[in-house]
């Protein structure tokens, strides 16, 4: 550990000498059963700037986004909330509840004024004074407005927080809206998806921690690294689309063979997301909706997901299936000609006709001598 790093924290440690501090860390490492080399890492951890606090508030949500956050394995949840960030408030993951939890949140906001990251999950209902979503006796809309003003950055996670999602679907009885619309004039990063991929959220947060600024965003305030390409562009079933092989019914031959789901209403051609590239839940290939045989329904795309019916065919932005395809193997030899088919038909007819005539003759014989036959 460098001399100047220690000087920064010496005062906090009641002015002990650097030599004594290193001795303390070495003893700590030994008592924890760690190799001596880890003493310097402990020293670095203790003296590191405080982990950024994250306040996670949820409105009209199903907690699917939080559930999605629990799934990643690199980093794991405990590494994430204990080492990388300080998740100071999340209604689903909080140990405490009620006034205690609310007080903790207020304390954190006060302590980290202008430094914390605010994550909004769920849509914000504004109709009738926001009475359709109350937390601790206050409308959710008020909490959002109040907290957002004090945050360093605001991230809207999930389709509901991004543009309203399911709660905002017609006829939208609660006047639900997404965070960017609600917090007009403020930069709100959106991580849409139902649920969103946790890695897209984590990468955004870690980008912010590492570089101190938000990643590049597109026109819908989505990080470009995650939402820069159409699903259709990276889909593993794309070759089937290009070759004109489509599933047309659930369970038909094409569906069973893993053909393109475009004709079943897949919204991949009009939805920007990296689902086919990073997949879900770290369980290997095929672990995403299209991979399991269900058409994409456009959850990351405002105006597509929860808006266009599930099985309506997507409009193609710029890629259309080819009208004709060269065969993989050249046809060689010649197939049936009209003349040959007619000739074979005529011969078959003649054989059947001849057979029928013989049969008729035999019927006469059978009828003439029924008694003799029975003997």
């Amino acid at each position: 550990m460098k001399e100047r790093d220690f000087a920064r924290v010496q005062e906090k440690l009641n002015g002990i000498s650097r030599r004594d501090f290193m001795k303390f860390c070495t003893v700590m490492a030994a008592s924890l059963g760690l190799p001596l080399a880890d003493a310097s890492r402990l020293a670095a951890a203790v003296t590191a700037p405080r982990r950024p606090p994250v306040i996670w508030i949820a409105g009209q949500a199903c907690t699917g986004c939080t559930e999605s956050l629990l799934r990643p394995s690199h980093p794991t949840l405990e590494h994430l909330i204990l080492d990388l960030i300080s998740l100071d408030y999340n209604e689903t993951l909080n140990a405490g509840a009620g006034y205690q939890a609310e007080a903790a949140m207020q304390a954190s906001i006060k302590e980290n004024y202008g430094k914390f990251i605010l994550v909004i999950e769920g849509a914000i209902p504004v109709k009738d004074g926001g009475v359709y979503c109350m937390i601790g006796g206050r409308p959710f809309a008020d909490i959002v407005k109040e907290t957002a003003d004090k945050a360093a950055a605001v991230i809207a996670i999930g389709s509901c927080a991004s543009w309203g999602g399911i709660p905002a679907a017609a006829p939208n009885p609660t006047g639900a809206m997404g965070a960017p619309e609600f917090l007009k004039g403020k930069t709100v990063v959106t991580i849409p998806g139902c649920p969103p991929n946790a890695y897209n959220f984590l990468s955004t947060v870690i980008h912010f921690l590492t570089f101190g600024k938000l990643p590049a965003l597109d026109d819908k305030a989505r990080p470009r690294f995650a939402y820069g390409r159409l699903i259709h562009e990276n889909c593993e079933r794309r070759p089937h689309f290009d070759a004109g092989r489509f599933a047309v019914k659930f369970g038909d031959e094409g569906h069973r063979k893993g053909y393109c789901l475009y004709k079943l209403g897949c919204k991949g051609p009009m939805t920007y997301a990296n689902c086919p590239a990073i997949l879900f839940n770290d369980v290997g290939s095929g672990a995403w909706p299209v991979g399991t045989g269900h058409p994409c329904f456009g959850c990351t795309e405002s105006g597509v997901g929860f808006t266009i019916p599930l099985h309506t065919q997507a409009s193609l932005k710029y890629i259309t299936p080819a009208a004709g395809h060269p065969p993989i193997t050249e046809q060689r030899g010649s197939g049936v000609s009209v003349g040959a088919a007619a000739l074979v038909g005529a011969v078959a007819g003649a054989v059947v006709g001849g057979g029928a005539m013989v049969l008729k003759n035999l019927e006469k014989e059978d009828a003439a001598a029924p008694k003799k036959d029975e003997e």
């Binding site: 060689r332 030899g333 010649s334 049936v336 040959a340 074979v344 057979g355 013989v358 035999l362």
Partner: protein, 378 residues
């Protein structure tokens, strides 16, 4: 049962003339084939070097001509002399069928002028299935002519020669049973050589046995069909008592065939392929449906004495077994990488010409020689 006698009716009937026209047309295409090559008349290609000239004219044709073999087996090996009246017409069909199959091979051979080499022992490749079939069929054609010779000699009153021939004819009869047993099973071995190019619905180690069984089945069935046709056409007397007796053991033969045929596919786990709606699957179903129908008819004793049911059953056997052979040689065969085949019109006409020639020869011979039983009120 009356002794065989020439029908002595008009040969040049409407039927004969129709056959002559077809044969003439085929003759024209044949000239074309010999002047401009096989490719100019046929759709055969490098993927399907065997078209209908082999699959129908030879593979089905010789099986249809197995009546002589099947009846000889019954009369001479199992010593059932009562079937003797059926031998002569059967032998004659065999003679025509095999002779024309031999001629078809010559049409089908690219360099037919080299064919004599098959019979030169120092050129023989004893490990070749095709060699076995070629020698066997070639020899059998000659044997058939000798077997049928007494009928011809009778006609031309060559008594001395006939008597002399009768002393040694048992050798030819024995050969006439041995040779088809060999080459009919070898016809199956030929497609065993095709390996995985043959669909699993037909590919089995039992191919040679199945081909031998279909040869026998078609042999007996064609004897019946032919008898019924002659009855309708030439007004020959009914042979029902004899045919009913043959019909008694056909279910056994057919049952064994069906058991091996279906179980060999089933045990290999490939029976599901029959129901996938493909051409191959459907042809498999059709082929076996015909044979199962025949089995169901013949297994009931009351049907075996009704000429109508007997005709239906024997026709179903002929069609089903012929289909089995065509399926094995063409429809179940996929040389891969985009090859396809369907016979061209000239190719079909040549095959029809072969059949028409056989019909004409049949009509001529039964009117001139003592082959068919004489009608009682002729």
């Amino acid at each position: 049962m009356t002794a065989p006698a020439p029908l002595n009716k008009t040969i040049y009937t409407w039927n004969f003339k129709a056959c002559a026209v077809i044969a003439g047309l085929a003759g024209l295409f044949l000239l074309w084939r010999f002047f401009f090559g096989i490719g100019s008349v046929s759709n055969m290609n490098d993927g399907y070097p065997w078209g209908i000239w082999i699959a129908y004219d030879v593979v089905v044709g010789t099986a249809l001509a197995c009546g002589g073999y099947a009846m000889a087996l019954l009369v001479y090996v199992f010593n059932k002399g009562e079937y003797h009246p059926l031998v002569r017409p059967a032998l004659m069909t065999s003679l025509f069928g095999y002779t024309l199959a031999g001629i078809s091979v010559m049409i089908d051979l690219g360099r037919y002028w080299q064919a004599y080499n098959i019979f030169l022992p120092w050129h023989s490749n004893l490990h070749s299935v095709m060699f076995e079939v070629a020698v066997c069929i070639g020899t059998y054609v000659m044997v058939l002519w000798v077997e049928f010779a007494p009928t011809i000699l009778e006609k031309y009153k060559a008594e001395q020669l006939r008597v002399r021939l009768n002393r040694v004819i048992f050798v030819f009869i024995a050969l006439g049973i041995l040779l088809p047993t060999m080459h009919q099973s070898s016809l199956g071995t030929m497609m065993l050589m095709a390996g995985y190019k043959l669909s699993p619905l037909w590919r089995t180690g039992f191919l040679p046995l199945l081909f031998l069984l279909t040869a026998l089945l078609m042999g007996y069935a064609i004897v019946m069909v032919e008898s019924f046709i002659c009855q309708a056409w030439f007004k020959t007397p009914s042979e029902m008592p004899l045919l009913s007796k043959i019909a008694e053991f056909i279910p056994w033969l057919l049952g064994v065939y069906l058991l091996i045929r279906l179980e060999s596919v089933n045990l290999a786990g490939n029976l599901a392929l029959a129901f996938n709606g493909s051409l191959q699957g459907n042809m498999f179903l059709l082929e076996n449906a015909l044979l199962i129908a025949a089995f169901v008819i013949l297994v009931q004793p009351k049907n075996r004495v009704r000429s109508k049911m007997l005709f239906l059953a024997s026709s179903a056997i002929v069609l089903g077994a012929a289909l089995y052979r065509i399926d094995t040689y063409i429809i179940g065969f996929d040389p891969g990488t985009g090859w396809r085949y369907f016979p061209s019109v000239p190719e079909l006409v040549i095959t029809l010409g072969v059949v028409a020639t056989e019909g004409m020869a049949y009509m001529w011979v039964v009117n001139k020689l003592a082959v068919l039983p004489k009608a009682e009120h002729a």
